[in-house]
Structures are given as C-alpha cells and as structure tokens.
Amino acid sequence: MRTCLSDAVAPSVWKSSKRVLERCGVQVKVPRGQTCCSQPAWTAGHPDQARAVARHTIDVFSGPEEVVVPSGSCAGMVVHAYPEMFKGQPEEEAALDLARRTIELTQFLAKHELDPGPGAPGPVTLHDSCHMLRVMHESQSPREALANAGCEVREMQHTDRCCGFGGVFSINFPELSGRLGEEKAREAIASGAREVVSCDLGCLMHIVGVAHREGIPLRARHVSEVLDR
Amino acid sequence: MSTAQGGSAQSGDPVMDLLMASLTRRKATAQVVDAAGAGREAARWMADAGVARAVLASDPVVERIGLADALKREGIDVRMWPTGLGKRETMGLEGPVDVCGVTVPSLAVAERGTIVLEASEGHGRGLDVTSRHHVALLPADRIVRTLGEALALTFADGRPAPSAVSLVSGPSRSSDIEKISTLGAHGALTEHVVIIR
C-alpha cells in the first residue's frame, strides 16, 4: 500500500519501501488502482464517506498476499478501524480478512527476519508515532530495522509523546498542534541527531514543517528511506 | 511535630512488619508495645507531642490498658467519647488547640498502612479528624494483609453495616497547592499507631 500522503508529498517513501523489500527477496506488487485507507474522513467524523473509499481499498487488496504499509497509522486504520467500520456490513468478512493480512513495513521485516543490508549510518533520532505505538503496539521493529542497517539511533526525551499532528486535528487546531510540534522538534534536535526518522510520514511532515518555520535545523526522512541506501 | 517516635522496629511477625513499613510510607508513626505497658507508652507519646487534651473512644481496649489514668499522670486533660462538648470546641475552634483523638481500629490493612475505624456509640465518626493529633490503639490480632479481607470482614453477610466506616491511611494532607504534598489539611496533622501485643 503506497499511502495517500506518500502519493501527495513523498513518492520516494513508497518507492524506497518497495526497493527495501525487493532487496530482501520479497516479490512486491503495487496495485495501480489503490487510493487511500480512508482515515481522513473516518477521523473527521464522516464514516459513510470513509466507508465508500475503504470499500474500494478492500477490493484493490483482495488477494491472499500480505499487505505491507509504510505507515503505522494507515496500517492501524486497516487493522483496528476497518472491523468497526464494516461491522454488520456485507464486506465485514473481507474487511476482517484484510485487517488480518495488513502489517507495517518494519513489522513485516521483523516478522520474517528480513535484512535489507546496510542503510544510512545516521545518527538519527526516532519518533515513535502514536498509531505505531498505541494502535499497532510496536516500538521495537523500527529500532531493530535501523540497528540491522547499521544506523545509529540517538533516543530523544519523551519519544512516546504525540507530536501534535493528528490528521484533521492539525488543521482544526493549528496553534495547539504547532506548539506540540515545536516541542517535539526541539526534543528531537536535543538528542544530538540532526535528522528525525519515523514510520509515519504525516508526523514527519508536521515536525519538520514546524521546525522549518521556527528555524530549527532539523531534517527528516521516513524509515524506509534510511534503510534504502 | 514531625519526628518519628521509636518503638521496636522489628516484631518478628511478617504481617506486623509489613504494616509498620506501610504506616511509615504513609507518614504515620508506629510502635509495638506489650499490653502491660501500652497505656504508659501511649500517654508518654502524647505528652512528648505536646498534647493538652485527649478525647478517648469509650472502648474496652482503652480501659484495659489504663490509658485515662496514665494520661492524667502526664497532666493531660482526659475526655471520654461522647464528650458533650459543643461543636466549636470539638473542632478545636475553642478550648485547647493541641487535642488528640484516641481511636480503636476494628482492623488494620498491612499492605496499605490503613486502619479501619467503625462508628458506634462509644466511637465518634469524627474522632480522628476533628483533633490535631490522632493516636490509634490497635490490638495486634486485628491486622489483616489486604484491603479486600478488611472490607469482607467489615461488611460480612449477616452483620449489620456500621453507619460509618473510615479507612484512614496516614495523616491528613493536601496537594492542592502546586501539587506538593502538605500534611495536616483538615484532619489530623500526626497519626501514631500503638500496636498492642
């Protein structure tokens, strides 16, 4: 799954993810018809509009293959929210099936003990995205993947705290969202690394966007891009 | 009054030791005494704390250890519950300030440093909180390990529920100013538990 944010802002993220998987010998299909997991409408409080888009996503990914997503948030949407969204609907079985087959990129690497070889040396600091941490319940797999790639991770303070992105929240409450983003950017730079890495592109766009506005010299890359070097 | 008064630190009884440790953690003080010396020890603790008046629960334990006489020997004014004093004096707005309420817990919870006070004719609901100091006279065989056991015994089937039961875990405190714990908010500033073997 490419994710809509990657399509909109950073196609390099899904391309890197694909290369990383192929380096591990995984046969990767990127269905051309895919669009979005529908999270924006779901969290904005419009479940019917979300369902229409999610239905399309279920169709596109209807094969038996595992579905690898370079985003803890989009993976979490499919794994955690689809079962609720399609409860009592005709697509319920298909939604549960997709939820069972869906996994985040670094979790997939860890699950199948795949090693894509050396990546960027770092140092970087890792932001645990909330949905990776508290929906996918995962904090180890990105650290393992980075360690295996020979990338040094310098932990920042409060890495489990929200960066304030929150999808539609970042637009509805920009001041509050921005303040949390600034705190996160300052904690990231205080780790001694100049680059923040995460499994979620949304958080990164937000953190680095605030950092750029505030003059904080912080760079950002998706975890797949660090592994892809 | 903040210094902890001694008493024996180790009793050799694991549940009693656990209670002592929990009471210390809850900022209460405790001592273990034999029944014979209990009245004298408790009276001495109150005298050292500067207590001017003691209000005692009317309870067989208080009588058994001869506390009233021991207190009088220390020059402390003794009142038995119910005292018949007016509300303002009961709450320390009139009369001596350094009043000590003396209670007899029905049970104590070793894990939490909690004593269980049941209201009854001889045992006022407010005895321990209206006064500045609180001394609890706890017979050692009333210690249980968990809160669950204490509540199961207190509210056992077939036993009428007391009108009021208070679970007291250390002296009164407030963290309402700057989230820092300050002792002696509305209730007692000190809590001293005399465990009677």
Binding site: H46, G166, S170, R213 | R26, G124, V129, L151, F155
Partner: protein, 471 residues
C-alpha cells in the same frame, strides 16, 4: 463576581465560557505560568504511575477493573434498585433525579425546609455538573467549598481545571493573594504549610455553621447501600459527620455490586488518580447516625442523577459509563497538558470530558459539540485509563455524532473527496494536480502559504514541496 451567577438552562457546559474552543486554546497557550504548572503536575503524576506499574501489576488490575465496571453498567437498573432499597433500610432517603435541575430543586428545597443558611461541600464533579452552587446561591444560601483546591477556585471565581486536582493551574503566590483578600488582612503566611493551616481554621468556622454537608460519591455499593467518598484532606469526613444533614450526590453509573468489587475499584482509583496505593481517607457511609451515636448526621439523603446517562446504555458509547473519574486520561493527554481543563469550558475536561459532555448535552450544543475534535487521537488516554475505556475510539464516534456548521461543511467536502478517491483515475489526476501546485508554490523546496484546507497547515508550519525535505 458575575461569571458564576448567570446560567439556568440545566445544561452541562458553563455559560460563562467565552469564545470558540479554538480561541480558548490560543488564550491558554499564551499563559506560560499555566503551562509550567500543568507540566509539573502531569510529570510528577506520570512518574508515580510508572513507579507503581510493575510493583502492583497495574495491567492485570486494569483488566479486572474493566470487567467489573462493564458488568456494573450491564446490570445497572438492578444494582440501583438494590442500592436504593438498602439505603432506605438503613434509614436514608433516596431521590432519583432525571436531570440537574430536578436534583438542584430537591436540595435547595430541603435546605429551605430545614432553615439552612450555610452548606459545606466536599469536592464533587457531579455537583459541578448540575450547577448546585449556583442554584443554592440563587436561593440565598451560602455555599462553601471545603476541599482546599475547590475553595481556592471559589475564591478566584473559577471552575476546576482537573477532576482530582482542581486548582492545579495556580501557584502558591496566586493562592496567598486570594487568601488575603478573603480574610481581609495581609496577615496570611505565604509558605505552603502556613497557607494550609490558615485554610484549616477559616474552613472549620464554616463546618461549625453549616446546616447541610454535601458530598459527591466515588462509588455506591449496592449490597449494603453504602456510599464511598474518597479524599486526602479530611474535609469530606467533616462534611459527612459534622452538619446535621448529609446530602450525597451520585451519578447513576457509579454503583458496584458488592464489597469484593468495591475493594478492587477502591484500590485502582487512587493509583490511577494520584499514583498512590491508597487515599488518606475513604469514608464508607451507610445511612444516617444510628440510635445512641452522638455524632454523624441525623438525616442522610442520596441524590442519584441520570442527566443523560441512562440513555447511553446499549449504545456505542456505553463504555464511557465505566469511568470512575480518576483523571488519569487528563494527565496523559497532550492537549489537556497544554491548555488545562478550563479551556474545555465544561466540568469534565480532557478526553473523557470531550466524549461525555456532548453526549450529556446533545450533539448540537454549541458549547460542547467541538470538544471531540480537540484530540490528535494519539491514544495516550486509552492507555492510561484504569478501567480500559477505548477513549480514542469513542472520540472518533463522538465526532461522527457531532453536528455543527463546521461538521456540515466538512461533510460536504468529504462527500466530494469520497467521490474522487474511490476512483483510481480521478484520484491520480487529483494527486498529479496537487503535486504540480506544490512545486509551483514551493521556493527552495518549501511552501509557506497554501490555499483551501492547506491554509490551516501553513498557518503554523511550512509544507515541504520536495521529499526528503531540504534544510
């Protein structure tokens, strides 16, 4: 003085709330002292919680607490019937109030009938919810909050900012100034011990005068008809033992079946609330004083409030009724930690407040319909909740139920979005157009101003137009 006075519709949110929710967050963000105070409080809570996690096996405790509370809510009607019968058996009076207005009418009526001039209260969120203070005030009856934090707020003419620690946003100097004003003298110490001792004496005067003591209820135990009131200061015991009448105000969902369940919840609550394994005082009250007893109230009244709770049973929001009002989700919430409870403009703030306030008030209430949106859905609340309420899921459901001009507008936008994004061709065309727009707007790899919904983004941050972004 006037901010507390005018209200009257029986709703939940405060009517003195100014501006939109977003405007209030902006105001709160400007207040550096507030931010410092909140952060200190939340951090110390977090540290004590972490220290307890291993020692007490908080995760297993949570599972059991979750089961107990779910079963309580499933059996709520039967438990309330039993509770009611047992309280009456013990000589107490029970009143079931459909809403806050009815509860307030009963309590002010009781005060009038007994000629009561002063009411002493211990901390209770339920009485904040029903606006009891305002009702008593209108009836010409003096109300005194006796919890230290609540009293400070009463003097400051403010509403609580946290369920457990109401005045957590004020510092010592601010408190000392309020006490001097109340006492009408400069002779008030400004160290913490001195301030606490000062309040102790001032409030004892009120306890001596009060004709009614009003408390909240942390738990009702159905099997014996006992109310549990948990506290650290000792004021709730004075409230429930000194005045001749005790009125306990309880939300209808706060009942457990028996003492086995109560023992568990009574331990979970302080751990989650204050990071301590016991509250200093837990007052377990079963009816008024008995014959022969010489203190304790002669009358005991239990007021059980529905206020929209009953209607939540059997809905997708039922789990919210499991809440034991510990405040853990508030401390854990990055939004609450940033702006405090008062910005929410309702008695219940933080994630649980954002879920239940619009439920109790109705989905189109202007005062609360935006609350569910003030969350990044980070899930820290659900993780902190000691009874396992999936707060982030409830927030999403509450958003779907919210009805306001903003949600209608975004509904139209998402209808268009949905049409575009369920077809790969229109999706790809839109994305290509968007990327072109980004390139066109970008200077040195960054866009500083975007049109449409992007404007909310660029108000506080730039948008990278190349990825990985340039420095």
């Amino acid at each position: 003085m006037s901010t507390r006075k005018r209200r009257a519709d029986g709703g939940v949110a405060y009517l003195d709330v100014q501006g939109t929710l977003r405007e209030r967050t902006v105001d709160a963000l400007r207040d550096r002292t507030l931010r410092g105070n909140l952060d200190t409080a939340a951090t110390s809570w977090g540290e004590s919680r972490d220290a307890m996690r291993e020692e007490y096996g908080l995760d297993e405790m949570r599972e059991r607490a979750r089961e107990i509370r779910r079963s309580n809510i499933r059996n709520l009607p039967a438990l309330l019937t039993e509770m009611q019968a047992k309280v009456r058996e013990a000589g107490g009076t029970v009143v079931r109030a459909a809403d806050g207005a009815e509860a307030c009418r009963y309590i002010t009526g009781l005060a009038r009938a007994r000629g009561v001039k002063v009411v002493a209260k211990s901390k209770s969120m339920a009485t904040e919810e029903i606006k009891l203070n305002e009702a008593l005030d209108d009836a010409g009856i003096e109300v005194v909050e006796t919890d230290l934090g609540e009293w400070i707020l009463q003097l400051a003419n403010e509403h609580p900012s946290h369920i457990i620690a109401p005045a957590v946003h004020l510092n010592r100097e601010q408190v000392a100034a309020l006490f001097r004003e109340e006492a009408g003298t400069d002779d008030v110490p400004d160290d913490r011990e001195g301030l606490v001792a000062h309040a102790r004496v001032r409030l004892r005067e009120k306890f001596a005068e009060a004709g009614i003591g009003v408390s909240g209820v942390n738990l009702g135990v159905a099997s014996t008809g006992t109310v549990c009131v948990m506290e650290n200061e000792g004021n709730a015991r004075l409230v429930t033992s000194q005045p001749p009448i005790h009125v306990a105000v309880m939300g209808m969902e706060r009942v457990v079946a028996d003492w086995d369940e109560a023992a568990h919840i009574l331990q979970v609550l302080p751990m989650a609330a204050i990071g301590q394994d016991a509250a200093n005082y837990v007052n377990l009250i079963t009816g008024p004083r008995r014959d022969g007893e010489s203190d304790g109230p002669e009358e005991f009244h239990l007021v059980i409030i529905d206020g929209g709770r009953g209607a939540l049973r059997g809905t997708e929001f039922e789990e919210a009724l499991s809440c034991i009002r510990c405040g853990a989700c508030l401390y854990s919430c990055p939004m609450w930690r940033s702006v405090g409870g008062q910005a929410y403009g309702s008695p219940y703030s933080g994630p649980i407040g954002a879920v239940i306030t619009p439920l109790l008030e109705g989905p189109s209430s202007p005062a609360s319909r935006d609350l569910p949106f003030m969350s990044s859905l980070c899930g820290a609340c659900g993780e902190a909740c000691p009874v396992g309420i999936p707060l982030q899921d409830l927030l999403v459901r509450a958003r779907a139920r919210s009805s306001s001009p903003d949600t209608r507008k975004s509904g139209l936008a998402f209808r268009a979005w949905s049409r575009l994004w369920r077809r790969p061709s229109t999706y790809r065309a839109w994305m290509a157009g968007w990327r072109l727009m980004l390139r066109a707007r970008g200077k040195d790899g960054w866009a500083t101003e975007l049109p449409g919904p992007g404007a909310g983004w660029t108000q506080v941050r730039d948008m990278p137009t190349r990825w990985p972004p340039r420095r």
